[in-house]
């Protein structure tokens, strides 16, 4: 296997079980909303503590002087504003409220959980990452100097220029922020199109995809939902045409359909079942040697699905199969594209 790392925002971690798995790193624009939520939570927490202490102070003002509650509020304000992130990240396994809401988590750069010292460092250094401060009074001298906005340029530049997208606090603490979402479903791409299964039944019984081809097929089928039909044909043709030629299919078989059929045969059909006879070949044969037998069936129908019958009047669909085999498949291809466009929209998730 090649050792070239993909150009991506993932980072590989090797566990004590000697397994390497990938984490998806969280960039600045994923972390900013989480941080804003944290600011709000912190504010709410301070207000809540203030209100509780204030009410307690009122209720017990006969026995305890109110100044104790005032001092308590000041200390609580200090502790919450400086150590909110530290305590939450230590006690909730690298997550604050904002990180929990946005599916982020702080971990060590080696994949270990964040430790107390690391959490202290990265949360204290946040104010250095938020530097430089911009005061509104710089832009408009009428405004009072109290409105100060941290620009966060230091942290942003640092995040953009490090491989693990760490801000200064992360660098000093040896931590990184990764995406750790709570729920996802197992994405097994199913081929819903019955024509793919039908086409797959015409593949030779000893067809086995190599490792790289299996991967290519899977990638194509997973991604094809995001492509328009013309792009699908364009991408699929690169692999589908040589295969089609080798198997002996007619050259007007839709490349996209052929890729799906190969995927179906590789991933979704049990080979034992296939060896035992399996499903009999269904539908009109796409094989080149069957051309004379199936001469009266318009091939465009195979390539473009059952709905094609509604468009029989289209001149391209009525072209004789022999002519297509002899010439280029450009014309019937156009017809197939037009019609698959309406079919594929139903398949999209």
């Amino acid at each position: 296997m090649s050792t070239a790392t993909p150009l991506d925002t993932t980072i590989s971690v090797i566990t004590p079980e000697n397994i390497a798995f990938d984490y998806e790193l969280a960039g600045p624009f994923r972390r900013l909303p989480a941080y804003l939520i944290d600011i709000l939570v912190r504010l709410g927490l301070i207000l809540a503590v203030g209100m509780v202490l204030g009410l307690l102070g009122l209720a017990t003002s006969i026995w305890i002087p109110g100044s104790f509650f005032l001092a308590g509020m000041l200390v609580a304000y200090f502790l919450i504003s400086w150590f909110y992130g530290t305590v939450l990240e230590t006690y909730f396994n690298g997550r604050t409220v904002g990180k929990w809401m946005f599916g982020l988590r702080v971990i060590g750069i080696d994949g270990r959980p964040v430790d107390g010292t690391g959490a202290v460092i990265r949360n204290l250094l946040r104010i250095a990452d938020l530097a430089p401060l911009a005061a509104l009074s710089q832009f408009d001298s009428d405004l009072p100097a109290v409105y100060v906005i941290p620009t966060g340029i230091v942290g942003l530049v640092c995040m953009v220029s490090t491989r693990r997208m760490q801000r200064l606090g992360d660098l000093a603490a040896g931590t990184m922020v990764v995406v750790d979402e709570r729920s996802w479903r197992l994405p097994v791409t199913q081929v819903d199109d019955p024509r793919a299964a039908a086409l797959a039944s015409f593949l030779p019984a000893d067809f086995r995809a190599s490792r790289t081809m299996a991967r290519t097929l899977a990638t194509y089928v997973e991604r094809r939902a995001y492509l328009t039909p013309p792009r699908r044909r364009e991408v699929a043709r690169v692999l589908a045409e040589p295969i089609s030629e080798r198997i002996g299919f007619r050259s007007d078989v839709d490349p996209d359909l052929l890729m799906m059929a190969l995927y179906h045969a590789t991933f979704l059909v049990d080979p034992r079942q296939q060896a035992a006879g399996g499903e009999p070949p269904a539908g009109p044969s796409p094989l080149l040697r069957d051309v004379n037998v199936a001469q009266e069936i318009p091939v465009a129908r195979l390539a473009s699905g059952p709905e094609a019958s509604g468009l029989e009047s289209d001149p391209a669909a009525g072209v004789a199969p022999n002519a297509e085999v002899a010439g280029s498949d450009q014309r019937p291809g156009e017809a197939a594209v037009i019609q698959t466009g309406s079919i594929e929209t139903e398949e999209r998730p």
Binding site: V114, S183, A218
Partner: protein
């Protein structure tokens, strides 16, 4: 291997692992007496790891591999959880690690020299009106000088209300400045500016207020004596910790810049913890002792006592005892790399 049959056999276990992850995440950690599910979790996690390792030879499609990566990552995060702060290690850090680092760290010395040097200089310049006319006015400004004089016009007397509130305020305000000084240390220059600014301003205020002709000079000395040692040392230490952090970026000692920053941050934390403790003690003193109407002798004795405690902490607790036992070469190594005894960052990789 055909994915359909493989998934059929494995999917059940993956789903079970996800459910266990859900439960662990919601509850924090496994409930008491729930050992069986923890064991089950561990074996399911190992099975998922094995599946991921075999993914390539199984010809799994990329989306399934991506799913497995996330499943293993999620289970990994639940298996290896962050440690909660351990009080024993915390005490060890405050009473053993911190003083030794403070004693050995040249950055602390530089910051202390800088702070107290500028402080003493500013006192001298601010005190001598004849020698340096207008210096105090330039640094403090007329408004601040007036408000200082007004503050100490009245003899010091306080009530319990006043004490408690002020102690709370000093904890919040002064410790905050110290932490800020530390954090800006990573950018080095803001840390030095904060340190120098505080030294010069405090020194000038001290010098100006101790002039004989200034109104309220008695009351001023009455107020600042008691908490002076704690507070000034705490500021210098915060600056020293910040300097240690920032120096990691420049003086790398052969490490890469990022590794060096990581190492110096770990070295700086105990110093900062000691500084925060001193800020806290200073705030209590400033809140309760300084504004009280206790006689000056007691406040001065408290100042001497606190200075003695700090010296004891730095010198007696901080003196590197290991030097006595270890051979000189060992000791040198320790000086060069104080983190050498702690486990290296990359060790995890090879662990089984």
């Amino acid at each position: 291997m055909i994915i359909a049959s493989l998934l059929e056999s494995r999917q059940e276990q993956w789903r079970e692992l996800e459910e266990l992850c859900d439960r662990l995440e919601v509850r924090g950690r496994a409930a008491r007496g729930d050992g069986a599910s923890v064991l089950r979790f561990a074996s399911l996690y190992r099975a998922a790891c094995a599946d991921l390792a075999m993914a390539d030879s199984y010809h799994l499609p990329p989306a399934t591999v991506a799913y497995l990566h996330r499943l293993v990552a999620r289970a990994h995060n639940n298996l290896y959880r962050s440690d909660r702060l351990d009080p024993v290690s915390w005490v060890d850090m405050v009473f053993r690690t911190a003083p030794q680092r403070i004693f050995a760290d040249p950055c602390v010395r530089v910051a202390t020299l800088l702070f107290f040097g500028l402080f003493a200089l500013a006192i001298a310049l601010g005190y001598q009106q004849a020698g340096f006319p207008g210096f105090a006015e330039m640094v403090l400004g007329e408004d601040q000088m007036e408000s200082l004089e007004k503050m100490y016009e009245e003899p010091i007397h306080g009530s319990l209300d006043h004490y408690v509130t002020m102690a709370g305020f000093y904890i919040k305000h002064n410790t905050g400045i110290g932490l800020q000084c530390f954090a800006f240390g990573v950018l080095l220059i803001p840390c030095l500016i904060t340190l120098a600014f505080n030294a010069i301003q405090l020194g000038t205020a001290f010098g100006y207020m101790s002039r004989l002709e200034t109104t309220g000079n008695d009351n001023f000395l009455h107020f600042v004596t008691a908490h002076g040692p704690f507070e000034l040392t705490a500021i210098a230490l915060a600056g020293g910790a910040g300097l240690r952090l920032g120096m990691g970026l420049f003086s790398t000692g052969g490490l890469s810049r990022i590794d060096s920053l990581y190492r110096s941050a770990r070295l700086a934390v105990p110093i900062m913890v000691a500084s925060a403790m001193l800020f806290f003690l200073a705030a209590l003193t400033e809140g309760f002792v300084s504004p009280s109407s206790l006689p000056y002798v007691i406040k001065a004795l408290w100042a001497i006592l606190s200075a003695g405690l700090i010296s004891f902490y730095f010198v007696v607790l901080g003196f590197p005892r290991d030097f006595v036992v270890r051979p000189a070469i060992e000791a040198d190594r320790e000086l060069i790399d104080p983190l050498a005894d702690e486990e290296p960052v990359g060790e995890y990789r090879g662990a089984t």
